[in-house]
Structures are given as C-alpha cells and as structure tokens.
C-alpha cells in the first residue's frame, strides 16, 4: 500500500507542474493565447500574464480550501474513506480539466483538483503525526533506523490508513494517546 500512495504523490506532482509547462507550449499558446503584433514573428500568440498567474495559483487556492475540509471530513468518516472519496473526486475533476476548452475552465478545474490533492497531503501529515505520537509514547528507545524521522513516519503511517480496524484496534493505552492527540488539535473525536 505504501507503493500505491507514493505513486499518488508522483502523479500529484505531475498535476501541479503540468499547467506551468502548458503555458510555454507553442500549440497551447496558439489555441488559448491572444495575438500580439509587437512580438517577433512566430511567437505572436501569448498567454496573458493575468491568465498565467491565475492558472499557477488556482491549484494552491484549491489546496487552501482543501486543508480546511480535510480535518473535519477525516474526523467524521475516517482516513480510509476520506482518502478514497478524495481520489474519486480527483478523477472527476481531472475529467473537467481534460475536456476543458478555455482558460477559465482550466482555472476552475485546477481549483477543484486542488481540494482533494492537498487534502491528501494533509491526511498524510496528520496520519504521520498521530502514529508518531503513539510511537513516541509507547515504543522502547529508538534504534538507529527509528531515529530517522521520515523513515519512521512513512513506515508507521501509510499502511495504517488502509487498515480495516483503524485506531480502535490499538491497545487501550495506545488508543488514549491517539485520543489526546486528536482533542489537542481540536478535532472532533468519534470513537
């Protein structure tokens, strides 16, 4: 499952950098740019600066909204279903992006893609933090491998997102650590 989620990160990056490459593409500029006679011949179609910056920030803007949805949604339906719903919505929004035929549609599509996209990043860090809190509280003194925090976070968090039992399967004292973490970050605790 780790491998699946790392592929998700790769394609998220693909999505983020795709539009930046498009605005430099000749065919794209000819289709969606405006004609500027003051430019050298052959480069007379340009994407306006307002659209270039709009398309660059739209994903980030969606992300800004997405991170606020991530917490409440995860508290309500859990990591497993939150991740899966996000992915399904991402599919739908990428369809909008693909079939879009104007810069405004690309803008809106990227804004919508930003929601589940950054939402997954948040989920990632949240899951890592909960597991790390449990790990720090409960585990014996760290070995050399455990001391590398990114190794620890990846190893502990990713498989757990998709585990059937979730936090309820933890022993009581570990469960308490999870609860105290969640309430300390003002999340609604369901279990």
């Amino acid at each position: 499952m780790d491998a699946v989620l790392t592929n998700l990160k790769i394609m998220e990056s693909y999505d983020v950098f795709l539009m930046g490459n498009f605005v430099a593409l000749d065919a794209f500029k000819r289709e969606f740019g405006v004609f500027d006679p003051s430019q050298p011949v052959g480069k007379q179609y340009i994407i306006q600066a307002k659209w270039q910056s709009a398309l660059q920030v739209s994903g980030q803007l969606g992300a800004l909204i997405g991170v606020f949805i991530a917490g409440p949604l995860t508290s309500r339906i859990g990591y497993r279903w939150a991740t899966m719903t996000g992915l399904m919505f991402l599919n739908a929004f990428i369809f909008i992006f693909y079939f879009g035929n104007s810069l405004a549609v690309f803008f809106v599509a990227q804004l919508l893609e930003g929601l589940p996209c950054k939402y997954h990043s948040t989920l990632y860090s949240a899951a890592s933090n909960v597991k790390k809190a449990v790990h720090d509280t409960m585990s014996p003194p760290p070995t050399a491998f455990n001391r590398c925090s990114s190794c620890t976070m990846m190893r502990l968090s990713l498989a757990d997102i998709f585990s059937e039992q979730g936090a309820s399967s933890l022993p009581m004292h570990q469960h308490t650590a999870v609860r105290s973490f969640q309430s300390s970050s003002e999340l609604r605790v369901h279990r």
């Binding site: 693909y14 593409l25 052959g42």
Partner: protein, 43 residues
C-alpha cells in the same frame, strides 16, 4: 520521501511535455486529433 516523489513527478511531466512540444495542434497538450493551426494574424 514526499519531496523525492514530487521531484520524480516533475521530471516525468517535463519529459512528456518536451516530447509532445514538437507536435502541432491540440495533440501537443491533449491527446486527440491533430489540428493544424496557422501562425498568421487572425482575420
């Protein structure tokens, strides 16, 4: 790790866009029928 996979993704998208850059028409940025567009001024 996350930064590593982000870097991998950006390299892939750069390579793919560079490959399709030479094509003319909408096939350069979207898979579909290639349409030849002129670089002349619009009428």
């Amino acid at each position: 790790m996350i930064q590593l996979f982000w870097a991998v993704g950006s390299i892939i998208v750069g390579g793919v866009t560079y490959h399709y850059e030479q094509k003319s028409g909408s096939v350069a940025y979207r898979y579909g029928p290639s349409v030849t567009l002129s670089t002349e001024a619009p009428n």
